[in-house]
């Protein structure tokens, strides 16, 4: 029944679009397709993405730049094939004007060429470096950042402010882990530090203790875990009696995990593009809305989608609400520069990747609750950090063995 109705309204929609009446085209709603994950292990982030998007649209009464907004949600199931199917549905059946999501790099890579061929702007959270570096997609916009974008400032902070000389890194055995730790290693070693060892537990590791037993003889441990793994890792780390300070990336100390962490996470220092303690009007409003709707402090997935909504809104204002000219729309998106957003001020580089603040935070206990306290803000952080762009792109992408360990 539902499919029938949809098909009929789809036919009606295409018929209307075929008529040469631009005024009607302007009155039809802007369609945003959200690719998210609602089942399986990635669902935690996926649900937060949907919550962030919903809150944004609620805050704007479903109106952007004078046009009504329709949100189409596709559940990718957290796998590349499902992502491809849902992307096709959104673009070919629902005729969406832009896509928010998907969450994971392997989902994004499965549809990158397809959405580019259909000239659909895509605002993703997936952090794969080469999407905005060596294999750029002209319709890609990323307001959250690359895998290494948080880790490069974190390495700078670890070497220069915390005065650490040597570290061991530990992160999941997949591209996001490699890219995070590659970025950390390059900047840390340029500043005179030494990465002694890099450990890669499989994504599914029920017990980290065999790895934790190897973490010794250095100044600190750098972890790049994501999803529910940071929770498990910190708990087992503390249980094993390990005492070295722990640093981490955005997902490793995500603010959405604050309600799940225990006291074992106190003292964790992480670098993230989003911090719930950022004191700006928009962030305050965003957090209040999320606490009201979901009962918890939001993290980077919800914030990322809220910010994507703001990018879409600003771009639509530039084009006067017009979404038919996709070239103009993506150009307007990449030209967006906002002073106040949940992640503070940001703009985009010519690859469509964000240039914005990275917050170094310490996890503390405040009034009996866990909270993040920003100890340093790096402003205008680019995916290339302080490196020359040409030089950076001439190097191989960060990987499991690149940069290599120095003995």
């Amino acid at each position: 029944m539902r499919a029938k109705l949809r098909r009929r309204s789809f036919l009606a929609g295409t018929a209307a679009a075929a008529l040469p009446m631009p005024a009607i085209a302007q009155n039809k709603p802007v369609r945003i397709g959200l690719l998210t994950v609602k089942t399986g292990p990635l669902a935690q982030g996926g649900i937060q993405m949907e919550q962030g998007t919903n809150l944004f649209l609620k805050d704007r009464n479903n109106m952007l730049a004078g046009r009504k907004v329709e949100l189409m949600v596709g559940d990718t199931g957290g796998n590349p094939a499902g992502t491809k199917t849902k992307a096709q549905e959104l673009i070919e059946r629902d005729n969406v004007d832009m896509i928010f999501g998907p969450l994971a790099a392997f989902e994004l890579l499965a549809i990158s060429d397809y959405v580019a061929a259909h000239k659909t702007p895509i605002l993703s959270l997936a952090a794969a470096e080469d999407m905005s570096q060596r294999k750029p997609n002209p319709y890609f916009v990323r307001a959250s950042g690359t895998s290494a974008q948080n880790m490069q400032p974190l390495a700078d902070f670890a070497a220069k402010e915390l005065k650490y000389k040597s570290v061991i890194t530990i992160s999941e055995d997949f591209a996001f882990g490699y890219e995070q730790m590659g970025g950390f290693q390059r900047v840390f070693e340029d500043a005179g530090g030494h990465v002694v060892k890099k450990l890669w537990p499989p994504i599914v590791t029920p017990d980290y203790t065999p790895y934790i037993a190897q973490l010794s003889g250095v100044d600190a441990v750098v972890q790049g875990f994501a999803g529910s793994n940071p929770l498990k890792f910190m708990k087992q780390y503390k249980d094993a009696g390990a005492t070295l300070p722990v640093l981490g990336g955005g997902t490793a100390g995500d603010d959405a995990l604050l309600k799940s962490f225990g006291d074992e996470a106190i003292g964790l220092v992480t670098a993230s593009a989003y911090s719930s303690d950022l004191d700006t009007p928009v962030n305050k409003q965003f957090i209040a809305g999320m606490v009201r709707d979901t009962g918890a402090i939001p993290g980077l997935y919800a914030a990322g989608m809220y910010i994507n909504g703001m990018v879409a809104e600003a771009a639509l204002k530039t084009t006067g609400g017009n979404t038919d000219d996709k070239e103009a729309l993506i150009k307007a998106m990449r030209a967006v520069s906002l002073e106040d957003s949940p992640r503070g001020p940001f703009h985009f580089d010519h690859f469509g990747n964000v240039v914005g603040s990275v917050y170094i935070r310490r996890l503390v206990k405040q009034d009996g609750k866990l909270a993040q306290r920003t100890i340093k803000t790096y402003q205008n952080v680019s995916q290339f950090w302080t490196f020359d762009e040409k030089w950076f792109l001439a190097q191989p992408v960060y990987s499991r063995d690149y940069p290599p360990l120095k003995s």
Binding site: I47, D207, T209, K232, L257
Partner: protein
Amino acid sequence: MNLWLILSVNSVTLGGLLFLLSAGFSLIFGLMRIPNLTHGSMFMLGAYFGVTCIAWGFGFWTAAVAAGLGVALFGAIIERFVLRRLAGAELAQVLVTLGLSFMVADVCLMQWGGDPISVETPPALRGATAVFGLAFPTYRLAIILIAAVIAAALWLLMDRTRLGAMIRAAVDDPAMARVVGIRVSHLFTIVFALGAGLAGFAGVIGGPILSVYPGLDQDMLPLALVVVILGGSGSLLGSLAGSFVVGFLYNFGQVMFPELAYVVLFLPMLIVLVVRPQGLFGRVTL
């Protein structure tokens, strides 16, 4: 040197947890001849039940037992009303358990949300205890003790009671057991409930180490499979031995051959399947 000692003790504690998980799996496998693919879901469901019980104000141990009973009841219902109707159709039963595992995962996601939930370690067992001059998490040592108690209780049940004798008879030769008047189908329900309950109990016991999150079921199921194939299905001694073998393989493999963590874990399973399909102590071939 210390590293190896830490790994050894940790291997034993992981083995203990795996035994709690896989003992029921092995019994179900041995008796009903099906790998119960909902077993990981029972583990996860137990963990979530435990979380809810703790949130209601029950103590950790009460919550663990209550969760075990709750999951046992759930297992009995599934056996009695679903698997029973497919008696004899092993392939259909396996597919049903697979389908159920996805359904349980979805319902858990809806009920408890996608956020990982951590389970507090019982206060008395927090901190570390010195063993051989090295500090070990007290709770992990307690798991060894729990596993030993459960192993002893199961052994008594299987070896010293009438029910145990009937189960052993049905594992060895179900047709003959029926002939001598054992109601094998009742045993199916009992063993399925027992296995599910043990897995649910293990889910709560594992909670303080693993935490609870969507996907926990799929993380644990392969471990139970490896244990049972290595040790041999239908045999308590087999799951005990298999658990510790996997505990050691897992811990030492990840340190010595980090790139091959999964190969180290699954290669022995493959070899056992080819060379000795009934497993190290198995009573039944696959």
